[in-house]
């Protein structure tokens, strides 16, 4: 009888030890899996970010090459350049005709484009030439240096083109 009791207790202890080790291994595996999924998610987020950045660069290239905005080149290939007077006219055109806005939206997506004339000159000049972003949407912002040309003054300025792009429209 005593032997049976002793054997029983011994078996219980051994079972408990096995269970504890199994639980311990399960916890380690669970932590490792959690870590793995977190790292995978970070990589996926980074890859999505890269695709968006490339799309942003592509948008900048498209916008500054539009004949409606590009500086006169007289046959020569100029560095990226936007004509301020053309930009002002473009803005008025877009605001006056609903179809025009729809056309450029289909071409270039949901974006907001602002041209800033920075230097030389004491005052910064800013023109918002296009805005098709819905309020409340998450946006990515790109600031790209660009030459801004004033045909009235016949001068080139250092400028910045700011592009806000809806995050959802880039996927």
């Amino acid at each position: 009888m005593k032997n049976k009791t002793r054997i029983g207790k011994k078996a219980q202890v051994q079972s408990m030890q096995t269970i504890i080790i199994a639980v311990f291994m399960f916890i380690i595996i669970a932590v490792a899996l959690l870590f793995y999924f977190k790292v995978s998610k970070t990589h996926s987020t980074k890859k999505i970010e890269e695709v968006r950045v490339l799309k942003g660069l592509e948008l900048v290239n498209r916008w500054q090459k539009l004949p409606e905005l590009a500086c006169p080149s007289f046959g020569a290939e100029l560095n990226p350049c936007i004509d301020m007077e053309k930009a002002e006219a473009f803005k008025n055109f877009i605001n006056s005709f609903r179809d025009a806005k729809a056309f450029y939206s289909s071409l270039l997506g949901n974006v907001k484009i602002t041209i800033n004339k920075i230097y030389p000159g004491e005052e910064k000049e800013e023109i918002e030439i296009f805005n098709n972003i819905l309020e409340g949407e998450d946006v990515m912002v790109f600031h790209i240096p660009i030459t801004v040309y004033s045909s009235l003054e016949n001068k080139k300025f250092f400028g910045i083109i700011s592009i806000e792009m809806e995050v959802t429209s880039s996927e």
């Binding site: 202890v13 790292v39 890269e50 230097y119 600031h143 660009i146 030459t147």
Partner: protein, 160 residues
């Protein structure tokens, strides 16, 4: 026998633990390089190129020509006809104003200099804004400046 069994199970647990740690390290190190650095490289090279070309195209009110020509005048030690001061100082002022409203505002560190002749143009001066010599360069743009005779290479590096 019980102790032997315990020992075996603990040994197995340790092996599993070591394998898992190795697996985790492998997964976390796997993502370095590849498309990430290619995209970043394109992005920064593009940015440097756009910034440099926009700077060089900028009109200098005091002299009546572009910054590209101002750079050439500075390197050759020549004045500009409408301006009595030091052309290299004037160039530095223009660079200061432009970078203040672009790279400095965006938190980018950079270095603009003439390759193999870093005396006259080596911008910016403040260390906190400038790339360190041993630092990794994220993007580079270059522009040849004809000096007649010879050519100088103007370089803009972005680092971080």
């Amino acid at each position: 026998m019980s102790k032997k069994g315990q020992g075996e199970i603990i040994g197995l647990a340790l092996i599993v633990l070591i394998l898992l740690i190795g697996f985790i390290l492998y997964i976390s190190l796997r993502g370095k390089g590849g498309i990430t650095s290619s995209v970043e490289n394109i992005q920064y090279n593009n940015l440097a190129s756009l910034e440099l070309s926009a700077i060089l195209n900028t009109y200098v009110d005091e002299c009546g020509f572009s910054v590209a020509i101002l750079v050439k005048q500075c390197l050759k030690g020549k004045p500009c006809s409408n301006y009595e001061g030091d052309v290299c100082e004037l160039l530095k002022n223009y660079l200061e104003k432009i970078f203040e409203k672009s790279f400095d505002k965006w938190g980018r560190r950079y270095r603009l200099y003439v390759k193999d002749n870093e005396g006259k143009i080596n911008y910016p001066e403040e260390e906190k804004r400038r790339c360190n010599i041993n630092e990794d360069t994220l993007g580079v743009a270059t522009q040849a400046i004809p000096l007649s005779p010879g050519t100088a290479e103007l370089r803009l590096e972005i680092c971080g």
